[in-house]
Amino acid sequence: MIEFQLDTASGVATYLQLVQQVRQALQLGILEPGDQLPTAQQVVAKLAINPNTVLKAYRDLEREGLVRPRPGQGTFVVGTLPRIDPAVQGRFLASMTAWLRKAHAAGLGPDDIEAIYRTAVRNSFAEGAA
């Protein structure tokens, strides 16, 4: 069973963090179709957050087709996400590190790089719907 963590300082909404953690777990193979997600009661008993937050996260995941509730039993994983191949991950990490080294050498500081990154991500995912 997956166990959720909460980062209150990240500025990311709680329910989004839960959604992200489920997606990551699916991507990394920690969760597979048929696995049960913790009940809202179990989650809030540990994290002390509003149960509606958990329900909202699970509803979002259901809308994405990743999970489905079974009445009286709980919420279960039904979908998959493309697994990230560790080798692929490694290749992109290497090329990114190289790019960063070049940017640093050109005099770009962390904030400049951040601004460039955000613009690029926004443009890229706006064009080719994720």
Binding site: T39, V44, A48, I49
Partner: protein, 298 residues
């Protein structure tokens, strides 16, 4: 949508002083409501009115479609934990549970005992020798075990250390998840309540400054910064809550339903903390020409 608490121009006066005034709310059920405000703002007064310990001087209040304190059925539906969690110092924990069983028709003794065991409280220990946190947990257990539809908690976290606070909220949220009850808890610190609340009522100086679903409030408030401007030049759909200026720059906290289209603005979201502070500051220094606070009804 049924309202769990509904007030209409509710007011409570002591002598010449109004502890609460012009209070009009309609709070939907199934929420965890944070009642926030500085000390003396009227939070305890509002809670006491809701549970029937006080009667209104003006206006009305309806709780779960009934009048507060009006007969055993109404009293059963509402669980209350007063500030300082009063308990009978000479009675043991176990006797307190007996008290709950004797005085409440829907008392769930299994639930009460399970919680007491989980909390590690000794049934035979006299309530007078419990720590503040333990007494708070006992009081919460008693309020929960009567299986109410609404729980009202007056500053339940005030005398608790961070660990006790966490445990209290964990227990409370677990009950909300399993029983689907509505909860209203008050605090003068928004940080305490941010994790658990999805509805906010802000009380400052005996008046409601802000009321609404937190997601809605955060979605309709924005922080705008840009070149220095006169607030009166902003569109009328933008209600300015807070403003600050340097010689070159202006920053406004505005409330609006409309999208912000002016490209001159940098728009940033507002945190709940900032929102509450802005409204509290606004209450003490009202802006000229500001409309009176309107409750947002979801």
């Amino acid at each position: 949508m049924t309202a769990v608490i509904e007030t209409n121009d509710l007011g409570k006066q002591y002598g010449r002083k109004w502890a609460l005034r012009d209070c009009t709310l309609s709070i939907p059920e199934g929420k965890v409501i944070g009642l926030v405000g500085p000390n003396g703002a009227g939070k305890t007064t509002l809670l006491s009115l809701a549970v029937g310990l006080l009667t209104p001087t003006r206006g009305s209040i309806t709780v779960l479609a009934g009048r507060p304190g009006d007969g055993p059925a109404q009293l059963e539906k509402v669980g209350f934990v007063a500030q300082d969690t009063p308990a009978y110092a000479g009675l043991s924990v176990g006797k307190h549970l007996l008290m709950g069983a004797y005085l409440n028709a829907n008392w769930d003794q299994q639930l009460a005992k399970r919680r007491i065991d989980q909390l590690g409280l000794d049934l035979r220990q006299k309530a007078g020798s419990l720590s503040g946190g333990q007494r708070a947990q006992l009081a919460l257990t008693m309020a929960i075990a009567k299986q109410p539809e609404l729980l009202l908690l007056d500053e339940p976290l005030a005398s608790l250390d961070p660990l006790a606070r966490r445990e209290f909220l964990q227990g409370l949220m677990e009950i909300v998840a399993s029983h689907g009850i509505s909860v209203m808890l008050s605090s003068h610190l928004i940080a305490d309540l941010e994790r658990v609340c999805d509805y906010l009522v802000l009380l400052v100086a005996s008046h409601i400054q802000l009321a609404g679903e937190i997601t809605e409030l955060l979605a309709t408030h924005h922080r705008l910064s840009g070149p220095r401007r006169d607030p009166r030049s902003l569109p009328s759909s933008h209600e300015v809550i807070e403003e600050s200026h340097t010689d070159k720059q202006s920053t406004f906290l505005v409330r609006t339903d409309q999208p912000i289209l002016d490209p001159a603005w940098t728009v940033r979201p507002v945190t709940l903390d900032e929102l509450v502070l802005a409204y509290m500051g606004q209450a003490h220094n009202p802006r000229p020409g500001r409309r009176s606070a309107l409750g947002v009804v979801s």
